[in-house]
């Protein structure tokens, strides 16, 4: 009998989601859909507000990656003001962004995903969590906690607050760095780098054990999109958009961020509150692309820091051309942590880093401002319009997880086809379906800018779409 299996809700991701698997008459997977069941009206309640409030306002979309929103929003405001921000202001923003990258990737890898890898996808759900890891692999768990703490502490030192610091402002940052704070951060970055390197080495030795997952966790051709620097290096703050196809061919390069709409379109589907961005020239849904750590490492010519570049060479041994398996988001994340900490170290050693000139001031001088930065989960786009009195008339936010929406659906389908057999529904199959979603480290509260939670809804459908069974939970 054809039926629909629903996993509801997906655990250990940020936000709320539901997965539906449609089976055909033979009990084989016909289709799988990843639904986001949360709706938020963030873009709406920005309307009418003064644009300098936008960094703090949009940072509230998320308690996990507020810094990324602060940054994209501040950049959009810089653009509205039509100012060039003081170089040290930009450097300090970058330091905070790298700290954010470190803490967010550490959270994703150690807290959310390592339980699957370390304890096995088939382990008892009650134990398959970070506490379980703590019992069986105390050292790794300790490393993870410390690494996240380092990222958060650096954010707190700069912004005087761990979550929602109001330090990044339109025009730069609102306070400069002192020598002792710099030294504290440098010490922590060094300690963090040791941990990151240790974890990376360990992960590389474990890779062969995960080959089945690597082969079937969202392993498919797609485009990749993200920022690269003017020299084509890994870039998280400035730079230009690049798009590569699955063969490694660069199909768009050095696209100024202001022109993002030339290459990114947004589609809507009735089964999810999350928008479906796609690569415009290829149309929807053919223009599916991935963003985030995996995409960034596939896109850049090099990382530009020594240890990350060494790791990048090893990463690229996985296959000819871009690495296609979404499983390797995890690998890419670890390399990015190394890179982030190396960059913090470099930036803080620059001779002008203690300069007090960290902010430019101006009114809104343009009617539209676009700010694009790389958040831990991928390219983050803030696009603002203001009126003659500098009040917001329109905001469009495209969030990292949104870009990956099409690819996540594709990934879920692939995993479902490989592991789910409708006649024998087993825990391990469902676990892997969930785990493929976690590869992308989705942050759904951001991606939908949610206003509230929809009641969870499970449906069993036959081939005619007739509801065979139904379960609702509020």
């Amino acid at each position: 009998m054809p039926r629909t299996i629903t996993i509801d809700p997906v655990t250990r991701i940020e936000g709320h989601a539901r997965i539906t698997i449609k089976l055909d008459d033979a009990g084989k997977v016909d289709d799988a859909l990843f639904h986001v069941t949360q709706f938020r009206g963030f873009e709406k309640f920005c309307e009418g507000r003064p644009f300098p409030e936008m960094p703090s306002l949009t940072a509230r979309t998320c308690g996990i990656c507020p810094v990324s929103h602060l940054m994209a929003a501040s950049k959009a405001c810089d653009s509205l003001m039509a100012v060039e921000i003081p170089p040290v202001g930009a450097k300090l923003r970058k330091v905070m962004n790298y700290a954010q990258m470190t803490q967010s990737h550490a959270l994703s890898f150690f807290h959310l995903s390592s339980p699957d890898m370390l304890l096995g996808w088939d382990a008892e759900p009650a134990k398959r969590n970070v506490l379980g890891v703590m019992v069986e692999f105390p050292e790794l768990a300790r490393d993870g906690i410390r690494l996240r703490q380092i990222g958060q502490t650096i954010i707190a030192i700069l912004g005087k607050k761990k979550i929602h610091p109001a330090w990044m402002v339109p025009g730069g940052v609102n306070s400069s760095l002192t020598a002792d704070k710099r030294d504290d951060i440098l010490r922590m970055a060094e300690e963090g780098l040791d941990i990151a390197q240790r974890t990376l080495t360990w992960f590389e030795t474990q890779l062969p054990a995960f080959s089945e997952e690597a082969d079937h966790f969202g392993n498919f051709p797609s485009l990749f999109l993200g920022l690269v620097s003017a020299e084509g290096k890994l870039e998280h703050y400035d730079g230009f958009l690049r798009v590569k196809d699955h063969t490694g061919k660069i199909i768009e390069d050095m696209v100024p961020t202001d022109n993002y709409q030339d290459i990114v379109g947004e589609a809507v589907e009735s089964f999810s509150y999350m928008k479906f961005p796609y690569y415009k020239p290829m149309g929807y849904p053919k223009g599916m692309y991935r963003v985030g750590p995996l995409a960034r490492l596939n896109l850049c010519d090099s990382c530009g820091t020594p240890l990350a570049d060494e790791a990048l060479l090893r990463f690229r041994q996985i296959q000819q051309g871009p690495v296609l398996s979404s499983f390797h988001y995890h690998y890419a994340r670890l390399i990015e942590i190394v890179h982030a900490l190396e960059r913090i170290n470099e930036l803080l050693r620059e001779s002008d880093i203690l300069s007090e000139h960290v902010r430019a001031r101006a009114r809104g001088n343009r009617r539209r401002g676009i700010g694009i930065a790389e958040a831990p989960r991928g390219t983050l786009i803030h696009d603002y319009h203001i009126d003659e009195h500098c009040l917001m008339t329109k905001a469009n936010l495209i969030i990292a997880t949104g870009h990956n929406n099409l690819a996540m659906n594709q990934g879920v389908k692939q995993v479902a086809q490989h592991w789910v057999d409708g006649n024998k529904l087993q825990e391990h199959m469902l676990n892997r379906v969930e785990a493929v979603i976690r590869c992308y480290d989705p942050c759904l509260s951001c991606a939908t800018h949610a206003l509230g939670k929809m009641p969870l809804h499970i449906q069993l459908l036959d081939t005619q779409g007739k509801v065979m069974d139904e379960l609702t939970r509020s």
């Binding site: 409030e53 703090s56 109001a166």
Partner: protein, 239 residues
Amino acid sequence: MSTQPHIITLTIDGRELSATVDDSILTIARQHKIDIPTLCFLEGLSTWGACRLCLVEIEGTPKLLSACTTKCVENMVVKTDTERLKQHRKMIIELLFAERNHICSVCVSNGACELQSLAQECGVDHVSVPYRYPSLQLDSSHDLFRLDNNRCILCTRCVRVCDEIEGAHTWDVAGRGIDAHVLTDLNTLWGDSESCTSCGKCVQVCPTGALVQKGTAVAEMHKQREFLPYLTKMRRNHP
């Protein structure tokens, strides 16, 4: 005729204190470091008595009276810190929060707002009445300043400072009850106001993030009010 002020004695919170008949309860309490919360009152401006936060209990009077507008009387017995008063103050603050859209976390005055700090002092940890979430306009037309009606508590400090100190009388309150709101030049955009001298006094006296300087980001609006008592004193001495 003697020019000596008439000195009387009253009791505030059990302490016997002397005052003149021209002194308000608030003035004497403050002189003796007895804390009474206030919002609409501001040293240097005329008293208005609108916010009712300074309510006190007076023996023999069933009604609560505002300390800022009530003058001292011989043998008066005043209580400023009873459970009943605490409950009233809490409720007033809750109603202020519920009335408009005070969203501290994204407000430029976060951390330097009188409403916010009073709420903390009075132990307002939640709002027990439903929020109204009105849809209110901002006036951002002035070159330097901005009015955000969402954060206004109608204390009229801006109206008074503009009229009494600057002498421009740009501000007024229009509408009644729940529809009351402040406006410039009888409902002209602030940026088009002909009376406004752009002195910024209204911004500095505003207790919340309703009147702010442009170009400030969240939590960056710190107001300076020290100028006010100084200005009034100078005027009194040099009429």
